[in-house]
C-alpha cells in the first residue's frame, strides 16, 4: 500500500495540477467562451513565482498568491482585448496567444531562463496541494450557486437573450476571465513546484489539450467535471502503461473515444440529472 502510494503520488499530484488548469478553462467555458489563454496565465504565474522563489527566496505560501494575482491581472488585460471576439475566433486568438507565449518564453531569458529553463528549488507536500484544490472547489461551488453562476449560464446559452434580461455579458465574461486567470496562474506555479524545473516547453500546447480534454471528458456543465476529467485524463495513460505497456497510447485514445461515445456530455452531466429529477416528480 505504501509502495503503491509512493509510486502513484506524483500521478495524483499531476492530476490535481491539471485539475487547476481544467478549472481555469471551465471558468471561461461556463461563461460561453472557449479559450486556451490559461496556458499563458499559467506561464506567467509559473515563471514569475519561480523567479520570486529563486531570487527572493520567498516561501510557497507567499509565492502562490502572487502567481494567482499576476494571472488574474493578465487575464483582465486579455479580457479587455478578447471580449470583442466571438466563439471560435476567440479560441483561435487565444491559441495564437499560447504560441506567442512560447516565443516570448524562449526569448525573455531573464524571466524564464530561455531554452535552458529554470530550476525551482521548492517542493510542495501533496496534502497542501489537495487543500488548495479543496478551497478552490468551494469557491467554484459557491460561485455556481450564486447570482454569478446563474448569469454565466444564461450568457453561455444565449448571450443576446441574457443581455435583454439585464445580464451584463461583458462584465460576467470579464469576471470569468479573471477567475480563470487566477486559477490558471495558481496552476502554473503549482506545476512548477511539482516539476521543480521549468522551460518554455512546460507551458505549451500539451497543457491546452490536457485542460480542454479534461473539461469535456469530465462534463463541461459542472465544475466537478473539470476535476473528474483531469484525474481521468492524467491517470488513464499511467494505468494503461501498467496494463498494456506496448499499446498504451492507442489504448488511451480508444478509451477516450469510448467514454465520449457513451457519455457524450461527459462523465458529470447535470442535464441528465435534471431530466431524471423531472421524471420522478409527480407533476403530471
Amino acid at each position: 500500500m505504501a509502495d503503491f502510494w509512493a509510486a502513484y503520488q506524483s500521478t495524483l499530484g499531476f492530476a490535481m495540477v491539471n485539475a487547476f488548469f481544467a478549472l481555469s478553462t471551465y471558468a471561461v467555458l461556463s461563461a460561453g467562451m472557449l479559450s486556451f489563454a490559461t496556458v499563458t496565465f499559467a506561464a506567467l504565474g509559473g515563471f514569475l513565482g519561480a523567479q520570486l522563489a529563486v531570487h527572493l527566496a520567498l516561501p510557497p505560501v507567499l509565492v502562490m498568491p502572487v502567481s494567482a494575482l499576476s494571472g488574474a491581472l493578465l487575464a483582465y488585460v486579455v479580457a479587455l482585448l478578447f471580449l470583442r471576439l466571438d466563439s471560435h475566433w476567440m479560441a483561435l486568438a487565444s491559441l495564437a496567444l499560447v504560441l506567442i507565449t512560447r516565443v516570448v518564453a524562449l526569448n525573455a531569458t531573464a524571466l524564464t531562463g530561455g531554452v535552458n529553463g529554470l530550476s525551482v528549488p521548492l517542493s510542495l507536500p501533496l496534502w497542501v496541494l489537495a487543500a488548495i484544490l479543496a478551497v478552490i472547489c468551494v469557491v467554484f461551488w459557491r460561485l455556481s450557486a450564486s447570482w454569478y453562476g446563474i448569469a454565466a449560464r444564461a450568457v453561455r446559452e444565449d448571450a443576446a437573450v441574457a443581455a435583454t434580461l439585464g445580464i451584463p455579458q461583458r462584465r460576467i465574461q470579464t469576471i470569468a476571465f479573471i477567475i480563470s486567470g487566477a486559477v490558471g496562474g495558481l496552476g502554473g506555479i503549482l506545476l512548477a513546484l511539482m516539476l521543480q524545473f521549468l522551460s518554455p516547453e512546460t507551458y505549451f500546447i500539451d497543457i491546452a489539450f490536457t485542460m480542454i480534454a479534461a473539461v469535456v471528458l469530465g462534463g463541461s456543465y459542472h465544475w466537478a467535471g473539470a476535476i473528474v476529467g483531469a484525474v481521468v485524463f492524467t491517470a488513464l495513460p499511467v494505468l494503461l502503461q501498467a496494463v498494456v505497456p506496448d499499446f498504451e497510447k492507442v489504448a488511451n485514445g480508444i478509451c477516450l473515444l469510448l467514454i465520449m461515445i457513451f457519455l457524450p456530455r461527459g462523465l458529470i452531466d447535470p442535464r441528465a440529472l435534471r431530466l431524471r429529477r423531472a421524471r420522478k416528480a409527480p407533476s403530471r
Partner: protein, 295 residues
Amino acid sequence: MSLFVEQLINGCALGSLYALFAIGFGLVFATLGILNAAHGTYASWAAIAALAAVQRLGLPFPLAVLVGVAAGGALGVAVDQIAFQPLRRRGAGMLGALITSIAAWIVLDNLAGVATGQDSLSFPTDSYPGGMLHVGGIAFSTMQLITIIAMLAATLGMHLLVRHSRFGAAMRAVGWKEQAAAIVGVDPRRVVLATAFLAGAASGLAGVLGGISTANVSYSLGEGLMLKGFAAVVVGGYDDVRGAALAGVALGILEVMSAQYVSTSLRDGITYALLLGFLLLRPRGLFGGTSFVRA
C-alpha cells in the same frame, strides 16, 4: 531582388501546403461543425501510403499522389464514422467531437509512428519530378510549381462545389441542421461521407506534396501543418474556401519573409502576433463572414 522573388516563391509553395490543409479543415468545420484535431494525421498517413505505393508497388508519381489522396479521403471517412457518427447520432455537441478527434489523433499518430518505425522517411529522389527550373535567373523546383498549381486547382474546384452547386448547398444544409436537410430529401449520411472524404483528400494532397518537398514522411508531417492550417482557416473565414486558401498562402509568405528579413527565433512570434492583431481588427476574418442568425 532575385533572392526576394525566390523567397516569395518559397513562401507561396509552403503556404500552398497550409492552404490545401486549411481547405479541408475549414470544410469540415463549416459543414459538419467539427474542429477536427485528427485532420493532420490524414496528411501523415497519405504521405506514408504514397511512399508505400512508390516503394512497394513502384507506382509512378501521378499514381502515387492519387493513392495518397485516396488514402487521406478514406481515412477521413473512417474517422468520421468511428469517432463522429456515434456522437452525431446522439445529437451531442461539437465539444465532444473535439475530444473524439483528439482521441483519433492520438491513435492515428501513434500508429503512424509505428508504421514509419518512428523515423522520418523520404521519397526516393527518382520517384518524383525533383528538378529545378530556372526562369530569368530565378530558381524554383518543379515540386514547388506542382504544389502551387495543385492548390489553385483544389481551391477553385472546392469553391465551385461548395458555393455554386446543388450538392454544395446540401453540404451547407446538412452542416446547419441535419434534420432540416433531411426533410427535403437530402440524405445526410451521404453528404457527410462525401464531405469527410473531400476534406481528407485535400489534407492527403497536402501530405503527399509536403512529404515529398520537405523530405519528411512521418507523423510529425501532419502536426506541422495543423496549427498553421487552423490559423489560415480562421483568418480566411472558415466558411469561405477562397479565404482559407488565400490566408494559407499569405501565412507561408509571411513566415518565409520574416525569417529571411527579421529573425527566425521571432518568426513564429511575428506570425502569430500579426495574426492576433488581424483578428482583433477584423474579428470575422478576411471575407467578413456574414451572419445568418438574427438578433
